[in-house]
C-alpha cells in the first residue's frame, strides 16, 4: 500500500476515535448542563460514555507522569485507550503545568468514579480537551491525505 493508502487507513482509525470521544463528551456535557437527550441517543449510552472516560482518565493519570522513554504499565501497553501520539500531544500541551494537570486528572478520576454530580466546569474542559486533541490529530492526517499539508 502506498503512503496514501496507509494515511487513509490511519485517518479512518483516528476519525473513528475522535467521533467516539466527541459523542461520549457530549453525553456527559448534556447530563452536566441538564440538557435532555435527543430521541436518537439511547439513555444507556451515558453509562458507556462514563465508563469509557473513566478508563481514559485512569490511563492518563498513570502514563502522563512517566518520562517519554519509560515503558507504560503492562495493562496499558497491550490495550491503550488512546494512541501514543495523542498522549504526547497532551503531555506537550501541559509541559508548563504538568504537576497541576496530573492532580486535576486524579481529581477528575475520583469524581467520574464516585459522584458525577460533583463535576466542575474545569473537569468538563479537561474532558473536552482530550476529545479536541483527538479531532485535531484526525484533522492533521486528513490534511495530509488531501495533500493540503
Amino acid at each position: 500500500m502506498s503512503d496514501l493508502g496507509l494515511l487513509s487507513h490511519q485517518y479512518h482509525l483516528m476519525a473513528e476515535l475522535a467521533r467516539q470521544l466527541r459523542y461520549d463528551v457530549l453525553q456527559i456535557k448534556r447530563r452536566y448542563y441538564g440538557l435532555p437527550l435527543p430521541a436518537s441517543m439511547p439513555s444507556n449510552d451515558f453509562q458507556t460514555a462514563l465508563a469509557n472516560f473513566q478508563r481514559i482518565i485512569e490511563f492518563l493519570s498513570d502514563v502522563i507522569p512517566l518520562a517519554e522513554d519509560v515503558a507504560w504499565p503492562d495493562e496499558w501497553v497491550s490495550d491503550p485507550p488512546l494512541p501514543n501520539a495523542l498522549v504526547e500531544k497532551l503531555r506537550k500541551l501541559h509541559t508548563l503545568d504538568k504537576p497541576q494537570y496530573i492532580k486535576s486528572l486524579q481529581r477528575l478520576k475520583g469524581r467520574l468514579e464516585q459522584d458525577i454530580t460533583t463535576l466542575k466546569d474545569r473537569d468538563i474542559l479537561l474532558l473536552e480537551e482530550i476529545a479536541q486533541a483527538a479531532s485535531a490529530d484526525a484533522n492533521t492526517v486528513f490534511r495530509r491525505l488531501m495533500r493540503w499539508a
Binding site: 500500500m1 502506498s2 503512503d3 496514501l4 493508502g5 496507509l6 494515511l7 487513509s8 487507513h9 490511519q10 479512518h12 482509525l13 483516528m14 476519525a15 476515535l17 475522535a18 467521533r19 466527541r22 463528551v25 457530549l26 456535557k29 448542563y33 440538557l35 435527543p38 436518537s40 517519554e68 522513554d69 519509560v70 515503558a71 503492562d74 501497553v77 497491550s78 490495550d79 491503550p80 488512546l82 494512541p83 501514543n84 501520539a85 473536552e128 476529545a131 479536541q132 479531532s135 484526525a138 484533522n139 486528513f142 491525505l145 488531501m146
Partner: protein, 385 residues
C-alpha cells in the same frame, strides 16, 4: 450573524454540496461493474446528508456552551464529504475502457485464487500516488502506466489483500500473542541487562508499530505482502525488488534513529516474503530472490544500522508469516502451490508468473512478449466474461 448562525449556514452549504455530488453517483454507466460502487457512494452521501440534517435540528448548534461540539461534528462531516469528492467521485466520472479492462482481469483473478466475490474492488487507473486502496470503499487505484505493464500487477494483489484485512478483522488474531510475548521478553531483558535509554525508546516505538492498535501499521503492511505472496508465489517477491529499486530511500529505513514511518523497511519486507515462500515449499525460489537482493545490496553504499533487529526481529517476521499462511488457508484462499499443476485455467495467475519468469530469463525481449501476452488476454477476457 453570530457564530452559531454562521455554522448553521455552512450546514446548508454542505448539504447542497452533497446534493450535487449525489447526481454523479446516479449516472448510469455502460460498465456494469460500476453499479455496486455507485450505489455505495450514493448511500454514503445520503448518510452524510442525514448527519447534516441531524446537526441542523440539534439543540447543540444553537447553544453557546456546545458550539465547539457542533463545530467539530460539522468539520467531521465536511471531511467525509471531501474524501468522497476527492477519491470516489472522480472514479465514477472518469471510468473508461482502461479501468474496465483492469476490472475484468481482477474479476477473473479473484475466481482463480478463491477471493470472495462480495469483496471485489473497483479499480481505477487514475492514481498519481502509485498503488493505493481505500478498503472501506472497496476501491483500488493504480498508475496508468501499469495498465499495459504486467510486472507491477502483484502490487494490485497486495491492495486486494488490504480489503480482505479490513473485512476479516480476526485474520491476524493469532499474531497478537506473538507480539506481546516477544516485547514482554525483550523488555525484561533490557531491564535485566540495564541497557541504555535508546534501547528502551526504540523498543517502545517498535512495539507500537508492530501492535494492532492505532499506530500499528507494520503488521497490516506485512500481512498484505504475505497474502499476495501466498496466492502469487515468488512473482510478488520479484515485484518487491522492482518496487524497492524504483521507490526506495534505503533498504533498512526506517531503522532506530530514523524518523519513524508507516511502512516497514524493504529488507524486513523481503525477509518476510522469503519466510512465506519457505512455508510454501518454494525454497529454491526464495534462495534466488535473496541472492538477487543481496547482489543489489552489495553494490549499494549502505551499512547495516545499529538496533535494526530491535525493530525487525526474526521471531516476529517468522511468526507473522506462519499466522498469515494458516489464516489464508482457513479463509479459503488458494495457495499458489496448491493450484492444479499445469494451471491451464489459471489465466491471470499464469500470466503474472510467466511475465516475471520471462523478464528474468530475457529482459531484452520482455516488452515484445508482454505486448503479445496482453493482446491474448484481451481476446480471452472477451470470450469468457
Amino acid at each position: 450573524m453570530g457564530v452559531n448562525g454562521f455554522l448553521a449556514g455552512l450546514c446548508v452549504d454542505l448539504y447542497g454540496r452533497c446534493q450535487r455530488l449525489l447526481l454523479y453517483s446516479k449516472v448510469v454507466s455502460p460498465y456494469p461493474e460500476l453499479s455496486s460502487f455507485s450505489s455505495t457512494i450514493y448511500t454514503k452521501l445520503q448518510q452524510l446528508k442525514e448527519r447534516i440534517v441531524d446537526l441542523q435540528d440539534s439543540d447543540i448548534i444553537r447553544d453557546q456552551r456546545f458550539w465547539r461540539n457542533a463545530y467539530e461534528e460539522y468539520q467531521d462531516i465536511s471531511s467525509e464529504v471531501s474524501l468522497l469528492e476527492q477519491f470516489a467521485i472522480p472514479v465514477l466520472i472518469r471510468y473508461n475502457a482502461s479501468d474496465h479492462l483492469q476490472n475484468r482481469w481482477v474479476t477473473l483473478f479473484a475466481r482463480e485464487i478463491g477471493y470472495p466475490q462480495e469483496l471485489l474492488p473497483i479499480v481505477t487507473t487514475t492514481s498519481n500516488q502509485y498503488y493505493w486502496a481505500k478498503p472501506e470503499l472497496q476501491l483500488i487505484a493504480m498508475p496508468i502506466g501499469d495498465v499495459g505493464g504486467i510486472l507491477g500487477w502483484p502490487d494490485l494483489v497486495h491492495e486486494m489483500a488490504h480489503i480482505l484485512l479490513e473485512y476479516w478483522p480476526d485474520f491476524l488474531a493469532e499474531f497478537r500473542p506473538h507480539v506481546k510475548q516477544y516485547f514482554d521478553k525483550k523488555r525484561q531483558s533490557i531491564i535485566d541487562l540495564n541497557s541504555n535509554e535508546n534501547d528502551n525508546k526504540w523498543l517502545i516505538e517498535a512495539r507500537l508499530k508492530w501492535g494492532d492498535r492505532h499506530e500499528g501499521l507494520w503488521q497490516i503492511e506485512m500481512a498484505a505482502n504475505l497474502i499476495a505472496t501466498f496466492v502469487l508465489g515468488s512473482s510478488f517477491g520479484w515485484q518487491h525488488v522492482r518496487l524497492s529499486i524504483n521507490h526506495t530511500h534505503g533498504p533498512y529505513a526506517p531503522s532506530p534513529s530514523d524518523p519513524i514511518e508507516d511502512h516497514p523497511a524493504d529488507q524486513a519486507q523481503l525477509d518476510c516474503i522469503s519466510e512465506m515462500l519457505t512455508l510454501m515449499r518454494l525454497q529454491d525460489e526464495s534462495n534466488k530472490l535473496r541472492s538477487q537482493w543481496d547482489e543489489i545490496l552489495n553494490r549499494m553504499p549502505v551499512e547495516y544500522p545499529q538496533g535494526y533487529s530491535l525493530y525487525y526481529p526474526s521471531e516476529l517476521l517468522k511468526g507473522i508469516a506462519e499466522v498469515v499462511f494458516n489464516s489464508c488457508k482457513a479463509h479459503g484462499l488458494i495457495c499458489f502451490t496448491d493450484q492444479p499443476k499445469k494451471r491451464q485455467n489459471m489465466t491471470i495467475l499464469n500470466l503474472i508468473d510467466q511475465a516475471w519468469h520471462q523478464f528474468r530469463i530475457s529482459s531484452q525481449d520482455y516488452s515484445t512478449w508482454e505486448v503479445n501476452a496482453l493482446k491474448d488476454l484481451e481476446y480471452h477476457l472477451d470470450d469468457i466474461l
